[in-house]
Structures are given as C-alpha cells and as structure tokens.
Amino acid sequence: MATVGLESKTFEKFADVVGHDDDLNYLNHDHSVLSWLFTLDHKRIGLLYLVTITLMFLLGGALAGAIRLELLTPKGDFLTADTYNKAFTAHGIIMLFFFLIPSIPAVLGNFLVPLMIGAKDVAFPRLNLFSYYLYFAGSVIALTALLLGGVDTGWTFYTPFSSTYSNSYVIVMAVGLFVVGFSSILTGLNFIITVHRMRCPGLTWFRLPLFIWGIYATSVVQLLGTPVIAVTLGLLGVERTLGVGIFDPRLGGDPILFQHLFWFYSHPAVYIMILPSLGVTSEVIATFSRKNVFGYHIIAFSSIAIAVFGFIVWAHHMFTTGISPYAAMVFSLLTFSVAIPSGIKVFSWLATMYGGSISFGTPMIYAFGFLGLFTIGGMTGLFLSTLGTDIHLHDTYFIVAHFHYIMVGGAIMGYMAAIHYWWPKMTGRLYSEFWGKLSAGITFIGFNFTFFPQFILGYLGMPRRYYEYPDEFQVLNVFSTAGATILAVGYLMPLVYMPYSFFFGEKANSNPYGGSTLEWTNTTSPPSPHNFEKTPVVTEEPYHYHAKEAAVVSH
C-alpha cells in the first residue's frame, strides 16, 4: 500500500477503491511525439500547458530576480533605467498573462473538469487543442517582442505613453496578448459548456465539487471580460499605427478611457487568477480535515458573487487619475462589497477545519499558506479601497506588496497546493512529503520576507517602478531581496523533486489522500485514456466524509 508520510494511516482505509493500475493509461498508451502534439485528450493538453507555463514562470521569475538585484542598492548599478522599465514590464506581462491566468484553469482545469464531473473529455476537444496552440502562438509573439528589444510601458500599457510616446515594441506585444486572450476565451467557453452539458447522471449543480464552481465562475469572467481587453489593445494599435484619436487628447481622445476599458478586464482578471485557488483550497481543506465543507452552498454562491462583484469595482485603480469624486465614492463602496464573499469563504474554511481530523500533508501546508497570505492580501486591499488612504498609498510599494500577497501568496500558493494535491492522480507517482513540506515552508517564509517589507516601504512613500531610491529605504529593500532568494529556493525545489518522482517516485494508488470526488473514487492513477471504465452515477453530496468514516468504523 502506498504511503503518504504520517497521514498514511488515516488514508489507507480509503485507498483501494480503484487501486493502482499498471495497464493502459493516458501517459503510456502512445509514446510518440506527435501523439502529444496533436492530442485531443484533455489530460495531455493539461500537461502541455503545465510544461509551457512552467517555462514562462521561470522566465518571469528570472526577471523578478533582476528587478530585486537592481533594488538591492539605492543607485542604479545593475540595470539602466530603460532596461529596468523593460524588465518590470516583461515580468508583469509574463507572470500575469502567460503564467497566472492560464495556471490553474488551463493546467488543472483541463485535467480535472471532465474527471470531476464524470465526463470522458471536454465538450470541444479540438477547440481545446486549438486554445493551447493559441496560447503557444501568443507566447512566441510576446517573446519575440522581448527579443526585439522589449516594451517599457509597464504591463498596464497606459496611454498616451503607450499609444504616442513609447518607442518600444508595443504593437508586437499587444498582438501577442490579443492572441493569448482568445486562448483564454475559448478555454472558458469550453469549460462552461462542459459543466452545463456533460455532467454524469446524478451530478446535480449542488453535488459539484467546489473546484468546479470555482472554475465555472472563472470561465464566466474569462468569457465576458477578455474580449474587452482584446478590443482595448486593438484600439491602442489603431491609434498608434493609424493616428485615429481614441485615447490621445491631442487627437480628441481621452487617456482615462483607456484605463476604464483596461481595468474593466484587468480587475476581474485578478479573480481569474484567484477564484480557481479558492476552489482548490475548498477541496484540500475538506480532504485533509476529513469533514464535509462547512457552508457548501454559500461557498459555491460566493464564487459567483466574486465573479459578478469583480466587474463593478474596476475604477478603484483610478482614484488618483482625476475621475469624478462621486464615481470614486461609488466605486469605493462597491469595492468593499467584494470583501463579503471573500470573508465568507475564509470563515467557512475555518469552520470546516473546526472539529476535523486535520492532517498536515504537503497540499494542506500550501493551503494554510494560502489562507494566511490571501487574508493579509485581502485585508490590505481594504486600505486601498478607502478613498483617503488610497491617495497616500497609490503607486507606492504598498500596492506592489498588496497585489503580490493576492496573486503570489494567494494564487500561486493555491496553484502549488493543487499541483501537489493532484500530482499522484496526474502521474501515478508520489513525491517526497519531506521535500514537499520543506518547500512549502520555505516558500511561505521567503514570500513574507520578500513582500512584507514592501508594505512598510510603500507606507513610508517609496514609489513603484523607479530603479533608484533614497538611501533610507535600503535596509528594507535588502530584506526584500534576501527574501526573494529564499522564495526562489522554495519555488525551484519542486522543479527537482516533482520530476524526480515522475520517474523514480513510489507508485500511487487511485486515492492516496482519501479524496471523495469522482477523480479519486472512480479513476485509476493515472487515469485511463477515456477516464472512466463506465460512466459514474452520483448519488450523494461531494464531501460526505462523516458517512464514509462511519462506514469504515462499522466494518
């Protein structure tokens, strides 16, 4: 029987539902390169995304390293001002559009959505492969822009600098983002239709795993929001190339209009990044607490509420740009409303753990990290949604710290929890729990060392996006750079022990963590090419651990 560290005793009794399958699975049924490049199997497409976004993450991480090295000293002695501008622009674009947005939806959504709803594949497998190649093409175009000389506008492409003054490769990068945006739209469309149309018998909406609710809400945001950024970047290109006045005041345009359109997508994009992690956290906490999720319905609806509220708060990014103070007041009030569904989730997770039989597997350690960091990120967001404090904190390192707590501390910790939780299902192998827990701990410590000092720096007035700073800020910047090296170790460790486990790891049985959803209970590890030997029939709620434990005890 496969073991999972100290938790094995708890999990063994659930572990033989399907058993390890040495026979045909989606990894070994065809080894040719073409079978991977032209696969229509959602699981293989998920792995294609995994490899590609990991490469992009490494590139984005290297650029972050360059930024932190430059900020180690007050003077610009590592990068020039221009190179620094291009470095933080590339870091932002790569991490957001090419890593975070496709991370959980494209990798784990592809792998898990059909498995979790008892389907053989997504609704449109060819469209799914096409989405991957759109992502790949967008990445190549964006990397081409970087190789040609890069972009210096910041990832926000604010006009009129981006439309009129910047002499960097704005158009090429915009085309790359336009293409990758359609990958995101098509993936969202595919998942929405899959969840609506392909649920197995008995799997009603309120029997869906909460990860599916998270992915569904994310897909809605992708589908409704992404076309706006595509159109906005298109308009930017039209103004830059043809001189049509849209955003440039000299041509009769309005630069604030660009910010409205940009943030109408880019604020909900934050929820594209965080909603899947919220779903992952629900799954991991339920499994590792051996308890039904407290407030299942309210957690499911809060995902939808976050998706909806996410669309009506965007102008909190623009409080200092000269927008109407009346509109600013409305947006400030609306922004506070997002805290409600987020808070509901956090309290529900705590209530789920209360009285549970908690075990500390690697995914749970990552989920704990997510809980703490997401909460800090969310609470500091309230500082920024308050009109008065935002005036003081806007465009300082406080903002940088806040959104990294959400998008790195929240979204990436959730992604790491997810990868570790479903790795045995994806590969049929167990990674080392020791190295996994160590990596989770180092990531948590490194992250806080990196970004907590930036809250203080921002509060003291250090602006973002400058490559030099006054001497009095150096101590905290050294802390931050030192923390970044620790964080890098935490992120690089899984790149060693996870691939190692893929080749040499102990074989995993079908359900090593005792999960209760269909991918654990009805498929082998790794799953067969068509997922299920026979279509599952669902007769109960997704997290019925009490009933299961009681049944085991009675035997």
């Binding site: 609506h196 409704l224 669309f311 965007w314 109407s324």
Partner: protein, 101 residues
C-alpha cells in the same frame, strides 16, 4: 439532449442571409450619411442606435439567435447586461466630473 439542441438549428434560407446582408449595408450607408449631418446632442445616440440595430441583426440572424435555446439567450442577455454595466458605470464617471463637491 444534444440531438434536441441540434434539431432546433434549421439552416435559414439563403435569401434571408442576403436580405440581412443588404440591410447591414444599408445601415452602414445610413451611419455614414448621419455622420455628415448635424443632429446636435443627438448625433451620438443616433449613431449608437443604428449600430445597435446592426448588432441585433447579426446576433439574431447570422449567429442563429432566432432558433437558439433559452440557455443561449441567457448567455446573450447576460453579455448585454455586462456591457450595460461597463458603459453605465463608465458614464457615471464622465457625467459627474463637472459636478461641484
């Protein structure tokens, strides 16, 4: 379920598509004509009104909205609702910029 869905999508007659195309061309010419007239404050609403009619034709005829299921119409209406939110909240900024505090 899927069969039922497909059965509702009867391809429309070619003449309907040609008629719709003709109307879209006519409305485009109308937009250009209206652009050269001075309607004062009504210039933008008239241009947007013509554009809305053209969009409706595309959704209903070319995108087969006329024979789609209620679920598809929910998606169409939800998209329009979100467009309304985007434009409405954006206009809340532009329309109240001149107001005194």
């Amino acid at each position: 379920m899927a069969t039922t869905e497909h059965s509702t999508h009867q391809p429309a007659a070619l003449s309907l598509y040609l008629l719709t195309f003709g109307m879209l061309m006519f409305l485009t010419l109308l937009t250009i004509f209206a652009g050269f007239q001075n309607f004062g404050m009504w210039s933008t609403p008239i241009a947007l009104g013509i554009a809305a009619v053209k969009a409706a034709l595309v959704v209903v005829i070319f995108m087969h909205g006329y024979s789609s299921s209620p679920l598809t119409w929910i998606i169409i209406l939800a998209s329009m609702f979100f467009l309304t939110i985007m434009l409405g909240l954006m206009l809340s900024d532009y329309m109240s910029r001149g107001w005194a505090m």
